[in-house]
């Protein structure tokens, strides 16, 4: 499993590991939406472009996940997968494959309401990358 779910008293989050930053950010997006729903049940309805920027890698990760979560919280679309097209340490551009939420077909396991900065981290570890993010649920 490339990511694990963090379980604190009042919080839920993810710890993600990957070989490259590109994969780390892709995995983090997958982990967040797998916490929300069964992404295997999603089809691709609407493809959209997502942009994010940040002061550093951790800030960029939080802002990236914020942009994706907004698709859910604002428009009630669920993200099936993402394709990061371009990225640097402070900016990224991606495509997100999304489908409109259907309460009869899509279970909601955890309704994530916000991506927090609390303990947010992106660090090099054992030749690869590791990230930690806590969600407000």
């Amino acid at each position: 499993m490339p990511y694990e779910v963090i379980d604190h008293t009042a919080d839920t989050g993810i710890r993600v590991r990957a070989e490259s930053l590109h994969d780390l950010f892709t995995e983090a997006a997958r982990a967040m939406f797998e916490m929300i729903t069964d992404t295997k049940k999603l089809e691709i309805g609407k493809t959209r472009e997502v942009h994010a920027s940040g002061a550093d890698r951790a800030d960029l990760l939080v802002n990236w996940l914020r942009e994706l979560l907004l698709i859910w919280n604002l428009e009630q679309y669920l993200v099936k997968s993402v394709d990061i097209l371009e990225m640097s340490g402070t900016k990224l551009k991606a495509r997100a494959f999304t489908q409109l939420f259907d309460p009869d077909r899509h279970p909601v396991y955890t309704d994530i309401k916000a991506v927090t900065y609390h303990c947010a981290q992106v660090a090099e570890k054992n030749g690869g990358w590791e990230a930690t993010v806590i969600f407000d649920v």
């Binding site: 379980d7 008293t9 919080d11 839920t12 002061a55 909601v108 309704d111 916000a114 900065y117 609390h118």
Partner: protein
């Protein structure tokens, strides 16, 4: 970091290192051990380091680990030299509680309790993606943000007297919708009059015990009476406002020279342009939350009347009070004998103003502010009253509830193989939850003992017990 015990209910962390003030913890032998295991004290010490903090960084007995600031925390900042922090208020701005009493007795609802709970669940929009009874234009929503619960009352959701029985009259006058992003407006638009999910609930209860007959009489509480408790907040609107300002303040953090041990503590001087903009936007979310609880009370009254086939006169519902649990307020307090304007952050804490305070409506000015402390769904909720000790020690603040002790996953594990619904039914409590996991995550053992929490604030005098409410039916979002 050394924890020094001062008396039965008070602990202190002396000012050391970068701390600008000491930290104070209100707790008990039973409660403090669980808190010691978490990083909560470290979080309190972080708050004590923020610019312009006045007096002490304080933790109420229901304290637990939060994002940046601990939940159950109180901190006041000088308005000229201090800061305001979205993380010190929390995501769910003006998450709060409203208590109403009815003219009904427990014996009148017992035989039809299942029907009442079912009607309540069907009437109250709750759960993921639910929308409220109002179709608001953006201009309409902005009116709600500006006017708060008086707007809802003017639309027919309640009575004129309800506003004065709400903290701040249900409206923070500094609200300015121009400070709210279009994303936040969009998230809030369909959600007015909805309960939400997670720990939000509607509880039908009974006044079980009266501790202070004088205050109970002033609040209109009598033993055996059926009550309604509503716990919800500003929904997606408040979350988005918090998120927007955290991001914006983090971006500017480098320019202020404020050292942040954690980005979630992002803050700005109270008097800076961004600090003032946050206060005005936060006030909008607070007003939205008050309007939300006002509308939900009206819908709940409809559910009572439909389920029991009774008239408004039979129901005789009357609002007791409505309080915030997550808020920052500019207030005047006496500090070392001097009156000072401060920005009081209460994150998972309740205002507890003493008798005679000018902010209280005439009805309660003699006796003090009603304080509403919801417990978990299987135990009890409490009504307390504000005191002079709270004004002197805690900037007129007290606890807000039970506080979690089990993580959501741990609660689910503890619930495995158990029929929680039946366990609660055996205690005389019907629970309607939209999801099975909500039921497990919110089980009584997941929370601290609310009675123990209340004993601490009563024992140390920062509020006094008035009455205990026993739940009979709970609707979870």
């Amino acid at each position: 970091m050394e924890l020094e015990r001062l008396d039965d209910y008070r602990w202190e962390i002396k000012k050391t290192g970068a701390m600008k003030v000491p930290a104070r913890i209100y707790s008990s032998n039973a409660l403090i051990e669980a808190v010691k295991k978490e990083e909560t004290f470290k979080q309190l010490v972080n708050v004590a380091q923020l610019p312009g903090i006045v007096g002490r960084a304080m933790a109420m007995p229901d304290i637990h680990w939060g994002y940046g600031f601990p939940i159950g925390g109180v901190a006041a900042f000088d308005i000229d030299n201090g800061v305001i922090s979205p993380g010190g208020v929390g995501y769910d701005i003006n998450c709060g509680v409203r208590l109403a009493v009815t003219g009904l007795e427990e014996s009148e609802i017992r035989p039809r309790l299942e029907r009442l709970a079912t009607f309540m669940q069907h009437h109250i929009p709750s759960g993921v993606g639910s929308t409220g009874p109002l179709k608001l234009s953006e201009a309409g929503l902005k009116k709600v943000l500006k006017q708060g619960s008086p707007w809802a009352i003017a639309q027919g959701y309640g009575e004129a007297r309800d506003a004065e029985r709400t903290e701040d009259g249900g409206c923070m006058p500094d609200a300015d919708p121009a400070a709210v992003s279009s994303r936040a407006l969009e998230r809030g638009r369909g959600q007015l009059g909805t309960l939400g999910s997670g720990n939000h609930f509607i509880e039908i209860g009974v006044v079980d015990e009266i501790y202070n007959p004088g205050a109970a009489d002033a609040f209109g509480l009598r033993a055996g009476q059926v009550t309604l408790l509503i716990h919800t907040g500003s929904r997606g609107l408040g979350h988005q406002i918090c998120d927007d300002f955290l991001a914006a303040m983090t971006k500017k953090a480098g320019q202020t020279g404020i050292k942040l041990p954690d980005r979630q503590l992002a803050c700005m001087p109270v008097n800076s342009a961004q600090g003032r903009a946050y206060y005005r936007a936060m006030a909008c979310a607070a007003n939205f939350a008050w309007a939300n609880r006002q509308i939900l009370m009206h819908i709940a009254a409809d559910a009572f009347m439909a389920a029991l086939d009774i008239s408004p006169r039979d129901l005789a519902m009357r609002l007791v009070y409505d309080v915030c649990h997550n808020i920052a307020k500019i207030e005047t307090h006496t500090i070392e004998g001097q009156k000072q304007k401060v920005c009081v952050h209460r994150k998972g804490a309740t205002r507890a103003f003493a008798p005679g305070h000018p902010a209280l409506c005439e009805l309660y000015r003699q006796v003090g502010q009603p304080i509403l402390i919801p417990g978990d769904m299987g135990t009890a909720s409490y009504v307390l009253v504000g005191t002079r000790e709270a004004m002197e020690e805690t900037f007129g603040s007290t606890c807000h509830g039970a506080g979690r002790v089990l993580s959501r996953k741990a609660a689910k594990k503890a619930a495995r193989g158990r029929l929680l619904n039946r366990e609660l039914e055996e205690k005389g409590i019907i629970v309607k939850a939209s999801g099975k996991s909500t039921m497990a995550e919110e089980m009584p053992e997941a929370y601290k003992d609310v009675t123990e929490v209340v004993e601490v604030v009563h024992g140390c005098g920062i509020s006094k017990k008035v009455a205990k409410l026993r739940p009979v039916a709970v609707i979870k979002g």
